[in-house]
Amino acid sequence: MTVESTAARKPRRSSKRTSAAKTPQTSEPQLVQLLTPEGERVQHPEYEIDLTADELRGLYRDMVLTRRFDAEATALQRQGELGLWASLLGQEAAQIGSGRALRDDDYVFPTYREHGVAWCRGVDPTNLLGMFRGVNHGGWDPNTNNFHLYTIVIGSQTLHATGYAMGVAKDGADSAVIAYFGDGASSQGDVAEAFTFSAVYNAPVVFFCQNNQWAISEPTERQTRVPLYQRAQGFGFPGVRVDGNDVLACLAVTKSALERARRGEGPTLVEAFTYRMGAHTTSDDPTKYRADEERAAWEAKDPILRLRTYLEKEKAADEAFFTALEEESETLGKRVREAVRAMPDPDPMSLFEHGYADGSSLVDEERAQFAAYQASFADSAEEGN
């Protein structure tokens, strides 16, 4: 097993053979792994983790329920209840592993696919659906669970996370901040600027990149010529590639990076090498740009399946556990379904709320005009009667 800590690595001599024309090395993951796709527990010299059977079952439960929630949301989109859905299918281990590594006082800056991380933070999953149904743009209070709003513009939140982490350091707190983003976002200037700022200010932030291989239809090869975790080296902090379908490795690596941040040693880039099994969003059609065989190959590495194999092999979970979890999943699905259908459209007058904290005379004027316009229908209805 190779330790992929770029900061510790000596610079390699560049060879003409490996320059521009060659295929980038992104297709060959050298990653931290603690649980093989076959469900075999393996050791890693740098990232070890010792979990009780109860904790292992907890991770399994998190992944199963998150997948169930995601499937329900996808179905609800197909039924016209949601305008859009960004599925996390296949990325459960990356999200649950990293999410369960966090402390309550840590702060999370997600992109728009972090349903599993939200689950770990205790955000009610139905809160995530408002923006996809079109009744709000987020709506939850980020400070309730230290889970910031979903950010749709790619990579913007990495700077917010960095600034927040700078504030944490300034406060003398020992909490850490984690910013989620994808392989596509790694091409954005904001992500590079976040790396620069976090490095020069030694900010306690972990950059957690879920490289799910596709940015809508653009493969990772369109984003980078070097493996993404190696980017960190140029900014002066370590980068680690972890098997993103291995929940144990994701937990161990994220925990280590968070502890490093807490110790005042600055940022870490974690690249979780994983796969988005579904579409980018429900508007997307992956059959147009990728081969079925590719998905099949990744299905063999399914994060949930491998943990189940391990649990069964270790006799850490019995049939009753799996049956009960199945029932819990169905209850969750039903609850989500009912919550979405019961979600009311917002009051038209709420258009004018929350644009400004201190109010604005312009909004006041337009609100009054809109109210009068709305009221004019009531008048005409009365006249009609």
Binding site: W140, S156, G163, D190, E193, A357
Partner: protein, 326 residues
């Protein structure tokens, strides 16, 4: 009363000093704001007195400056960021428009973004490209932002205080060619609300509306017009978003004529918004169409041509004459 005569630059410096002194959560961030004190020295001496943790020199990355300031604000700080020149704000435009402006609404009001973005703006200093622009309309158009610009030392001092205390993001445009103009500042009494226009000169025949660097030109035009027997009222708008239409309306109902003056291109500029709203509000009072004087729909010209581009005394007086001729 503690009245002191000082330049706009000094008034801003004193105001920032007061803000840092009053509230430990206030931070200053930007390129060269520390030891150098900013390229215009607006933050001169502040790092020396408040330390590198309060007055933070940043990497040269505008999106990073605004993006991390947003994060700082989410952590409970009140950052004041400096964009070195108007034309350099665009790398940060995405963070300002898609994040800073919208986050409060996105959270249904549950979080606040008290960030002040200071931008030295406008022409008239003979600078090279990207150092003389007036992009205020681009920001005023964006809901969630408030946009202000002082024209004198007293307003520079007090509007900065009010901007820092605001829980909304404020784009604070500083008229760089007026930095060295002096005026009296009463540091003990707040002259008015942040988003309220003021009557800079009273008159009865016509109203001139301006803000920032053009207020001085309009006051000079009004003085020149007075010599020709024309009584011109001058309003200092101070806030481009929101706009205090009530004060403009009151003035126009009295004078019945309105000319709006700004350095930014007339096309889609703040003058267009004022003309349209005042026409709606004062149609039966107006004796002439609302006229606009401003920049042309061309890229900001090289320094040797900026006198042709920027509205000067003669162009303002010409518009006054045209309005009075109706």
């Amino acid at each position: 009363m503690a009245v002191e005569k000082m330049s706009i630059a000094k008034a801003l410096n004193e105001s920032l000093r007061l803000a840092l002194d009053t509230d430990p959560k206030v931070l200053i961030m930007g390129e060269d704001v520390g030891k150098l004190g900013g390229v215009f020295r607006i933050t001169d001496g502040l790092q020396k007195d408040f330390g590198e943790g309060r007055v933070i020199d940043t990497p040269l990355a505008e999106s990073g400056i605004v993006g991390t300031a947003i994060g700082m604000a989410l952590r409970g700080y009140r950052p004041i960021v400096e964009i070195q020149f108007d034309g350099f704000v665009f790398p940060a435009y995405d963070q300002i428009v898609t994040q800073l402006a919208k986050m409060h609404a996105r959270a249904l009001g549950k979080i606040k973004l008290p960030v002040v973005v200071r931008i030295p703006y406008g022409g008239g200093i003979g600078a090279v490209e990207h150092h003389s622009e007036s992009p205020e309309a681009l920001f005023a158009h964006v809901a969630g932002l408030k946009v202000v610009s002082p024209s004198n030392a007293s307003d520079a001092y007090w509007m900065m205080q009010q901007a820092v205390q605001s829980d909304d993001p404020i784009i604070f445009f500083e008229p760089k060619r007026r930095y060295w103009d002096k005026g009296e500042v009463d540091t003990e009494s707040i002259p008015g609300q942040l988003h309220k226009a003021t009557v800079a000169r009273t008159g009865t025949d016509l109203t001139l509306v301006a803000y920032g660097p053009m207020v001085k030109v309009c006051l000079e035009a009004a003085a020149a017009a007075q010599e020709e027997g024309k009584s011109v009222e001058v309003l200092d708008l101070r806030s481009m978003s929101p706009i205090d239409f009530d004060t403009i309306q009151t003035s126009v109902e009295k004078t019945r004529r309105l000319v709006v003056v700004h350095e930014a291109p007339v096309f889609y500029g703040s003058g267009a918004e004022i003309a349209a709203r005042i026409t709606e509000r004062c149609f039966y009072h107006l004796e002439a169409p609302v006229l606009r004087v401003g920049g042309y729909h061309v890229p900001y010209p090289p320094a040797r041509l900026e006198d042709e581009y920027l509205p000067g005394l003669d162009r303002v007086l010409d518009a006054v004459d045209r309005s009075l001729a109706y």
